[in-house]
Symmetry: C2
Subunit: 325 residues, 2 copies
């Protein structure tokens, strides 16, 4: 089952009045630093502090009365968990979220705060898929995938629809668009919009360099699944591969993907704090980091950047501010 | 010399294309927490990270060719310094800034970064007014006051013009407006706009409780000058009195003023970090703190809040995140 531009438009109708239309923000200081025009889509200001609410709501609002009664189950390290939990709360259905026991505390607490039941699991010795399937079976609940689902991708793509309209209002035409990418739900949805409305725009994915499965996939022409031996700062982007729904779209629409290291991500977070006055989580700042490092060239161009989330533990943020990472 | 609504409109024309039209942001989570509708004017996203650029540019752009050649001098603990320094740079004139030696390092460095010359002074043993006057005399430079100047107040008031237009676009009519207040340049300018366009809106000032000269002045009916023996977290609001220009406007237009303690300010900054994903400096967060503490009641109302600046030292922000303040 594929996703189309029309699906994103339909999702935008469903989200109207429920999702925040987040600002597209232009900073003269950032423009000067990069020698081009840069517009930041601030999904940090979305409900739950990340774009994930869009896809979750678009998926859950389409469940029928019987499905709503049984509720939903999702596994996620954090932002998808919160998106599903809040969407379920707003739509009056139960939600069970399966989260790794080492997920950022801020994300676990926030998810619980939206009224979801939490089941923590051990990343090493347990399978989150198996746990979720078991819960789904015993309760009759619907499993809500984090990215590999056409309704999820269409929902995330609504951020791209807003970006294009907001850019037009600001007399900006994107030469380039950069977005964080993990499983590709967000970027596949956005790329459908951009290719429809601005076919000449180059689209780049930004991913942690140790989770560069998208760059490897684009290079080889086939979806690659990786097995990194290390973690990254970007807990939201630790996806070993893109999905069956998202990969063909990314393959068709992307110019390329760049990898960012932890120090590069931390530096972008400090820049956002100091100059933009924005709290961005590690995974949310890789697009900005791609520009600041010059890995995606913004000089003399107009570039759109998705800032995808801001859910970072205060203790980690304090460490980064102190330059300890 | 007084200030009028027309002066603010004229300032807005001068600032067009130079100042950022900052977002008026509404957070569903904050609305839910306060039981009302709250719209935040994010002057953290203004050039130099605070509203001060507006007034400085409006003042400096009206200097004639000879005055521009001699340049300007200003004394300020930080945000006004940066505003004057950047405006001077954009307009091609020299700027000398007199700053206390204990000003936040981030503000001193940023001011230097805009190309201004810095003269540090000792808060206890030196008079910044005397130093500034001497520099002005020897160079023929114009002294740019931080708040007690009609062009400065008119420039800051443009934030209010934007707020009113943005609120209208969002179908919001302010029952209440709250803004940080130090010397009153910002709030006097904004209050002129609000009283003209929405006369029923209640206007509140928020100030550090140990620098509550405005509350004392409003209570006694005459401008009070205080001599606090302690500092506050809010380095941007340590003004012992309002000004001869600003006080009559504030007296005429304000409903009242509330005082915030350091712990209340720190708590608001943590809330902004965690839920709004915004970096707000202590002085910039007193309006938000006034709502979160219930000192200004937002329940069942529509409230506009000015978030006036985000220039906070990383080390202090880290301490606040760790709950050490």
């Amino acid at each position: 089952m594929s996703v189309t531009f029309a699906d994103v438009q339909a999702a935008a109708e469903r989200l109207k009045g429920h999702a925040v239309e987040t600002p597209l923000f232009e900073s003269p200081a950032l423009n000067e630093r990069l020698g081009g025009r840069v517009l930041l889509k601030l999904e940090t200001m979305q409900r739950v502090g990340a774009f994930k609410f869009r896809g979750a709501y678009n998926r859950l609002v389409q469940l029928d009365a019987e499905q709503r009664k049984a509720g939903v189950v999702a596994f996620s390290s954090g932002n998808h968990a919160q998106g599903v939990a809040l969407a379920a709360k707003l739509l009056g259905m139960p939600a069970m979220i399966v989260m790794p026991s080492d997920a950022p505390a801020i994300k676990v607490e926030a998810t619980r705060g939206y009224g979801a039941e939490i089941r923590l699991y051990d990343r090493i010795n347990e399978s989150r898929e198996a746990i979720s399937d078991e819960i789904a079976k015993s309760r009759g609940a619907v499993v809500v995938p984090a990215f590999d689902d056409p309704h999820i991708a269409a929902g995330q793509g609504t951020a791209g629809l807003e970006m294009m309209a907001q850019a037009k209002a600001a007399n900006a035409v994107f030469d380039t668009l950069v977005s964080p990418v993990g499983g590709g739900g967000l970027l596949s949805g956005i790329s459908l919009v951009v290719k429809e409305l601005s076919p000449k725009t180059e689209i780049w994915g930004a991913e942690p360099s140790v989770y560069n499965d998208l760059a490897q996939s684009l290079a080889s022409g086939a979806k690659v699944t990786i097995k990194p031996s290390t973690r990254t700062l970007c807990d939201a982007l630790e996806s070993p591969s893109t999905g069956d729904v998202t990969w063909p779209i990314l393959k068709a629409n992307l110019t390329g993907a760049v990898g960012l290291t932890d120090p590069e991500v931390a530096e972008a977070m400090r820049y956002a704090f100091q100059t933009l006055k924005l709290v961005i989580e590690p995974g949310g700042s890789v697009g900005l980091a791609a520009l600041l490092t010059g890995k995606v060239d913004a000089r003399g161009k107009t570039t759109g950047v998705v800032v995808s989330g801001g859910n970072v533990d205060p203790a980690l943020f304090a460490k980064i501010l102190r330059g300890e990472i």
